[in-house]
Symmetry: D2
């Protein structure tokens, strides 16, 4: 009954094996090795386009460094008010960009809409150099609320952003879950829908520590290697990140791992919905389920050993009562069943 976070899990066996295998021999450091080059090229295939890829070891580094290349330091990044860059990176984007402003925007289910973006821009009129110029629209796919953007939604948002002179950043910490859920291709969900830079996550989905920043316009990536280095994010033994992605991308492992987590979340969500008095707050598109339990149940479940966090957000629709349950590539049917049994038990004993 471990639903605290996808990053409480370790690595998928295929990925750990690849790391062990990569340990052979003396190879150039800082990404000059053959494996790093091979894996970078593999991204071109996955995304059906020549792109420029950089590896780092955390999602915060990926987001902040990507944004630092996309915005001038006096620019403004529009994002959802519940987005990770706004809520969970300790003002990292402000720091790594050299001082850019984040403009948090409200939206149901963790999602932005073209209308909400328009409205935000309208209230922050372009008066150079007084207001920080809007430079980047950051979207999260899948979102912090476990929802996803459809290809059409993404295209409309990107069009709105480009029209307003912004580029589009996608925080893809759970990109694999989103792609597995939507059923569109990686290309369709990104550059074909107008995304300029993708932070392609591996860590939450079975890697040890592996994130890739993917620039769909290689020309726009020139600054990145310097910014990664000075922020201390250039690994000397880069082969060990490359190896993770090598296994991750092989035979669609990334989609298999994510697909399993999604399926477990579906089962959990359906099971909870069927229990009297339990509400599910958002559509369960990926591996996150946000139930609101009757009073006392969450505590009782924790006493039973279940692990999950309360989920409090700006403009909280559930008045502090929402919980977040996360499934992963390691979650089993038995985990779900045990949890559902426990919930039912407590709900019954209350009524």
């Amino acid at each position: 009954m471990k639903f605290a976070s996808d990053n409480w899990n370790g690595a998928a066996p295929e990925i750990m094996d690849a790391v062990v295998r990569a340990n052979d021999g003396s190879v150039p450091s800082y990404g000059g090795d053959a494996l790093s080059a091979k894996v970078a090229a593999r991204f071109n295939e996955v995304f059906e386009k020549e792109c420029k890829v950089f590896f780092v070891s955390t999602g915060g580094a990926a987001n902040g460094l990507a944004l630092s290349v996309m915005t001038p330091p006096y620019g403004m990044i529009l994002c959802h008010e519940q987005s990770h860059i706004q809520m969970d990176e300790c003002a990292g984007p402000e720091f790594l960009t050299g001082g850019a402003k984040l403009l948090p925007i409200t939206g149901h289910g963790g999602k932005l809409t073209p209308h909400a973006v328009q409205k935000a821009l309208a209230g922050f009129p372009h008066r150079p150099p007084h207001g920080a110029p809007a430079s980047v629209l950051s979207l999260t796919q899948g979102t912090e609320c476990g929802t996803t953007y459809s290809v059409d939604e993404l295209s409309a948002l990107s069009a709105e952003a480009h029209h307003a002179g912004m580029t589009v950043h996608m925080d893809g910490a759970r990109f694999a879950n989103a792609v597995a859920s939507i059923g569109a291709s990686p290309a369709e969900v990104t550059w074909k829908a107008g995304v300029d830079v993708l932070c392609f996550g591996g860590t939450k989905n079975g890697c040890l520590a592996a994130e890739a920043v993917v620039f769909f316009d290689p020309q726009a990536a020139q600054d990145f290697e310097f910014r990664r280095k000075r922020a201390g994010h250039l690994w000397s033994k880069m082969r060990f990140i490359a190896a993770q992605f090598d296994a991750y991308l092989k035979d669609d492992l990334w989609l298999k791992l994510a697909g399993h987590a999604n399926q477990m979340a579906q089962k959990l969500s359906a099971g909870l919905s069927a229990i009297n008095g339990v509400d599910i707050s958002y559509p369960t598109d990926i591996n996150e389920v946000f139930p609101v339990f009757p009073d006392g149940i969450a505590d009782a479940l924790r006493t039973d050993g279940a692990e999950f966090y309360p989920w409090v957000t700006p403009g909280d629709p559930a008045d502090g009562k929402m919980q977040r349950l996360i499934t992963s590539f390691r979650t089993t049917d038995a985990d779900i069943d045990a949890f559902l049994v426990a919930v039912e038990k407590h709900v019954k004993s209350q009524s």
Copy 2:
């Protein structure tokens, strides 16, 4: 009919005279002169407390540098979504603090409430080191909407802030107008109401370029001199800022200038309210009036030579139709009368 901004005006004669007088002789630079020391001491009298005062030449410098001393670079500054630090300083606070986050909060009439602050904090739970820790509550007195906080309102907000571990910053670009309007003493409106640091504006109210950052706890100001210097805000010929404040504070000139501007705004506001079809959006506490004219009137007035800007804000209540009229120490009864006549003329000709 010049109502574009208070800073379209030059300097009050008393202040310009003081600058001219200060030109005599060779005196130590960087604030080591006798006049700078005398004027700093004068602030202690005005605020009935030993405080530590620093002079700079712009409001953006005053706000950003004050905040840089008040927050760690990874902290979060709560402010109104229409505040100057959020809307008008080109991400200056983010830059000058070394990357702190601004959390914009909605509130009617440019004002925050304890409840709104509580709600914002509740939605941004303290989970060190993930979320940026709330470090400063920034209040604007008088506000961007021409309103003021009462002493009780300030005290309640400060209590809320201190309770949550924040210190209180006051953007007082129009502090003189607010004090003149409220009728409380400078001390009552600031440290006695829990304000920790005040940016005391002079420029908008008759100075050439003079802002004072006032720390009510002198111990908390140690960093300031270094931060001011490295940001290029330490004047070598500091006497020329000190001279402005010398005149500004003498015989309550600051309150007289602001009081006049306020009175002119009252007259303008009352006159406009009396005209059929003209709505005034906020209470006219200080020197700013926010009318919504019938369609076409604003353009007609501009054709007549009237100068004023449209006022567009986040969550715009007037759908882009609000105008902002600002009065100053130089505004005359005749200016107001002429404008009111012009408005009436156009309104009549339309109906």
Copy 3:
């Protein structure tokens, strides 16, 4: 006998008069006024070239903001080890550029040579992204040691810099003194000699607070207005800086003021040289004289009321015994005569 610093003086009468005159009327703020436009155009004439000019109020702001446009935040700025940006701005350039590195270089008399630049670059090999890439060569004209670069010296240094992929910044806090001393035109000493951006100082030479950043390639200046704003350096009542430059540039006032200061320094230098036991450390090209007095003399002079600072620098050639005497537009023959008499008196009484 006031030789402490050029900024201990106030403003030249012509300049103060211009400020007073500029106080008439209501004009657009933030540089949108007619005077600001007129003065900006005047710079094109002075430099015989269309250039882009920005006004700020301190030399530290001018240098740091200029550099912030010239270097990426991970770049390296080569400068003299005694330069103002290295020694006297409290790490301002590092801050305002967003973290660029300064590489201090040794050189006699405050001057760099092409050979010294080559050697510095050779010891800091280009290995992207490991070493910070050399981005700017910063030269000071006239130098902190009171010397000047000839046009040929500047051209050789600029050629070296451009060859190595750097642009050339000139700290011209005492540019007027240098131009008055060299006798070449402003254009010859700057862009014709390869300088890309000039910080044209007014404050030390009779302005109240006025510095101009001059981009000789207007295209390269795009970022500046945003960076100036967010650092709090955009004046609202810009007319008051413009007015200073209006007077400063009129009828070559700037060169007259500087020429006088230079002449006074020449007289002081010659007078001191003629006194037994007094050594002058550097050529007296501009308004600074660096004597080494026999032991005890400096203290005795200070007791007499003479004002001047000791001058301690990296690799100090005089073992802490050097003094710095600065003349200004206000220095008189009588000031010099009185000082020389005092020196002679003390030297004699010692021997």
Copy 4:
């Protein structure tokens, strides 16, 4: 014949095994797991003192983040002109500290002396707030030149630094090699000798990516967790760094690995010294050897497949002819023998 860098090697088998073992189960993320706590406590034993330890994945992150806690953003860090923080981190320390200045100091063999520190401070006099105040003395142990500081040398430098109001940072990327070479205890080489913060390296000596920042005064470390997070350096699956240090510190593995590398360097150094015409530039204290070969030999060796880099530094004593050979835990006697044979062959064939 692979002597390019210690980071061209992978991980030691004991360390890779520990990583694999750590993969079991679901554990709290972000360092909340039991292994992270256990390993942190292990550092207290190794250093015979309660200290506060933070893990990151690169040496640049360790140095820059440690310094960011030690210096105000306007402070000045004294370091050797060849130090990694000055030469090899792309202005990372300037960035991560928020703009602190690095003052590079010359010294033979990569080492600073109390006299050199005194001289540097004397040339950069304390004139707040003009000069950046000296805040940190950064020492590298073992140095970039393969030398080490003795305990007495460290104590004298620390005393000098503390006397001048600085704290002492030690870049210990090759700390294991230094400790193995000197034969003193970890405590003796650090806090007992006045070191305040140590960056304890693992990556170059057999870890995959593991560096520990050790604060010997736990009170001084409060900021670190926030700064690490916002820079994107807080790993979610922290167990995988902890596991590396668990193995690294077990049974003195770190000293065994480093001792072997040192021994191989000794053998290489001795062998090269014995060859006619080959000069060794610095004492071979740790795992780096800096030969100057007769002209043509280095190229010939590279043609044979030998891997090593030229070593160019500020004030280069060898005029660009120095090479750097690095040994590691994987270097074998056969590697050394083969290389020495090759050198001898080429030297002979030339004469």
